[in-house]
Amino acid sequence: MLFLTAFLIAMLATGRLAAQSATAASDAPAQGQVSPSSVEELERRLRELAARVKELESADESKAPQETAADGKSTVAPGEVAEAPTPPREQPSDVSQTGPISGYMDFHLNRPEHQDPQLDFHRFVLLFNHSFTDRIRFIGELELEHALVEGLEESGELELEQAYLDFRVNRAFNLRAGVLLTPVGIINERHEPPSFHGVERPFVDTFIIPTTWFDAGAGIHGTFGAAWHYRAYVMAPLDATRITAEEGLAEARQKGFLSNVRNIATTARLEYGGLPGLTLGTSFWRGESGFNFPREGARVGVVEFDGRYHTGPFAIRGEFAQIFIDGAEGLNDLLQRSTGVNANIAEQMRGFYIEPSWRPLPKLPFDTALFVRYENFDTQFRMPPGVLPLKQFDRAAWVVGASYFPDPDIALKIDYSVIRNQSSLFSSVDSLNVGLGWWF
């Protein structure tokens, strides 16, 4: 449009100049010389046209997000917009150039103790968004795990982790429906690789909170007061028959795949961010999850608390989560009858972690963070009567590592994980991990 306008103006100018030249030529003295007054008139008109083209260019640029350099200023009043200075085009820009698709990637090298190292392109995630209007938005998140999907065991996964419409009513009350992220814990809704330390996500956010936890649902969200954020959804429940002693709820997610909604689950999160650097959150999930054995039933509940704080080069975050399974005894009986093996599902599972970190060189453009994380996660925390806990699933881990950020959206990570369990028969496997993750 801009080019078309500029082209038309240029053509018009050329035409007018040609006409002016012709007139000037016809009015010129016999020797073919152009009079000085005509030249001045032509120059004046050229200046006017150049100014008009510049004006149109400015108007066109103001419609797109302006790439504002440090300390760039922009002025806006209701119904009135002033121009923001844009950096000269020949200067290198620190602002990322992003197209209509965003996403993140996670590329890992894992070297478990006494085992061969593995290279794994763990996550390839694309995010899409579209605004129908200022009030109706679409967000989608499509994830390919482990680089390959072939439908066999040990293959990767292609998952639709988010696909919803947001109906924006006001700041305090908005509606959303589709495939949603369950709003439980720190990582489930905030899992871009540069936003957390460690090559792999925390164990608590794997074995206790089954990130990435998503399913079909609908609900409300908003912000009230200065800094209270909430979301509350109804979602498809878990399938209790797929809960395991080792991995907890991870396999029980229905993931929006023909999800059974004989009963629905409810979940909510409340977050406070009113003090600089501090975010406190709490969330719950509760749902009747025994639709595969309705006579017995199994109600699953999750309660979670978390906090994050950073000041200067120091940061700390922590999370606590506990799972309650009402009807675990009946669930174990059912699974033993159907498979012949005692599933050893606990009545309660529990996990927590704390992770201090330090950026020793915060003033440098390419900063580094050192961190240590202690985790405790027990998927056999409280057992039903008559069932003994499997001690190898009562685990603790120390993860020590560093993250190097050549760009705030790129993280080169290295860590060493030391895992211990309470069993005298089974030993856990430590591992050295290196990862490259990026957001764009």
Binding site: V76, A77, G79, L127
Partner: protein, 128 residues
Amino acid sequence: MARTRLVRRSSLVGAVLLVILAAPSGSSQDRRVIRLTAERFTFSPSQVKVTRGTVIEFRLRSEDTNHGFRIVGSDENLIIPKRGRGEATVIFKADTPGRYTFECSKMCGAGHSFMRGEIIVQDQEPQP
């Protein structure tokens, strides 16, 4: 002598008038600087209350990636630089009472659509 005195008095009156005219008038706009931090997936603070006539100078800084800052209903839409890359400034003239929503206009992660805030322009002084 009398002429010199007259010139001095005239100069003094002129200087006083100049000072009075040059001084800011009582109806001039107040100016407030609001430091606003963007971090996945919140603006902090996410609510700003001012009285009508205030000129707000938003100084926008990110704790992580690029975020956008768009005031809904206006054409204003700019990028907040990434962590450690400085800040962006936008000046909002609060001339008309009402609620103005601002939001992140650049996809910043899975919770991008939560990133919103509002400016409340009131006729009266906002309650603390």
